[in-house]
Amino acid sequence: MSSQQTEFAAFFQASWEPCLRTVVAVVGSAQLAEDQVAEAFARAWASWPKVGRHPAPRAWVVRTALNAGASWWRQRRRELPLADHDLTAPSGLDDGLDARLLTAIWRLPRRQREVIALRIFLDLDNATIARQLGIEAGTVRMHLSRGVTALRHELTPAKNMEAGNERPR
């Protein structure tokens, strides 16, 4: 393997999961996300001299994956039985709160999901997220705040219930 191949292979192994989780959080389908992320990594290798020097290569992969999926979603929209805001969490999760929160995440507007996913899984600051999404940092802050507020509404009753249960009798 050349040094570039070794470098790319290491990047790929370390970045596959966070990039895939970010895209899953946005598109709501693990299968679709997997296809899009694989395609994005292939494009990353095709342009590795450029992507390898990118200040946030994982963000490049995620943005490419999401862009690759956009046209696919547009073409399939008519065939989908559910709009994307109707996505629900998969069954089989142990914690009921997880399923409810996942459903709440996928009911957020797409931009809010993107901002939250990039923050959580790629640990990007507002300025970097703004550059990746082509929006202002203030707009990122607004989407993050609105998304967090919506999720907090979902979480707070559970938290209050837990606090109530823990209260000494």
């Binding site: 292939a42 095709a46 590795w48």
Partner: protein, 221 residues
């Protein structure tokens, strides 16, 4: 105090992270397959830049499916045609990448697979099978994206890669690769192992494979 002040932004994000991280996701595919797909993409880009794009589009549009083996100055160990690329890997496997845009030239693919030591029956408009076929498909062929137990329809423009290990091919077996072209422009590839001396071919796309193998549908962008 507002009840929602009880959770800070970081707490909410941590909770969201826990929930999203609880979802099972696929482990990374073979990096060689990803790199092969990237190489094919780079070659297509170079062809477009060098002005061969016009020829590519014309060929795709008229579905002539020419097999232009080696026309583009391939590196040793790599065969590139308009519709597929085969690259040899250091571990002795070969990676076949199929373009969704151009009709696959079955004869060229069969001939080129044989150059890599892969015995194959590649047919266009038909598919050859022999009952359940020899065991060991999963040791011979790794497909990305994994086709799963049912027909796998790829997003428009997406390539599929097949990493094939000729050393794992059972004695007396061949790889059957059937290609069907639909009026919508989609191509369906059916693949499984067959007994070299005992197989039958049918001209209708199988709704389900009799044994282990896969079905992938390519869609032009």
């Amino acid at each position: 105090m507002n009840v929602h002040d009880e959770m800070s932004e970081n707490e909410v994000l941590r909770a969201a992270s826990r929930s999203l991280s609880a979802m099972p996701v696929a482990s990374p595919p073979d990096v060689e397959a990803i790199m092969a797909s990237g190489r094919a993409r780079r070659m297509r880009r170079m062809r477009r830049r060098s002005g061969v794009a016009g020829l590519s589009v014309a060929v795709a549009g008229t579905a002539l499916g020419l097999g232009l083996t080696g026309v583009f100055g391939s590196a040793p160990g790599t065969i590139r045609t308009m519709s597929f690329t085969i690259a040899s890997n250091p571990n002795g496997t070969a990676t076949l990448t199929i373009s969704p845009k151009v009709l696959i030239d079955a004869a060229a693919l069969q001939s080129d697979l044989r150059q890599y030591g892969i015995p194959a029956i590649v047919t266009s408009g038909s598919f050859c099978s022999s009952g359940l076929g020899p065991a060991g498909f999963s040791q011979v062929v790794h497909v990305y994206p994994a086709p799963g137990p049912r027909r796998h329809i790829l997003p428009p423009g997406m390539h599929a890669t097949f990493t094939i290990n000729p050393a794992a091919m059972p004695a007396g077996a061949e790889l059957s690769f059937g290609i069907f072209r639909f009026s919508s422009g989609e191509q369906q590839a059916d693949f499984m192992l067959v007994n070299k001396n005992s197989y039958t071919c049918a001209s209708t796309p199988p709704s389900q494979l009799p044994g282990s193998g896969g079905q992938v549908v390519f869609r032009p962008r």
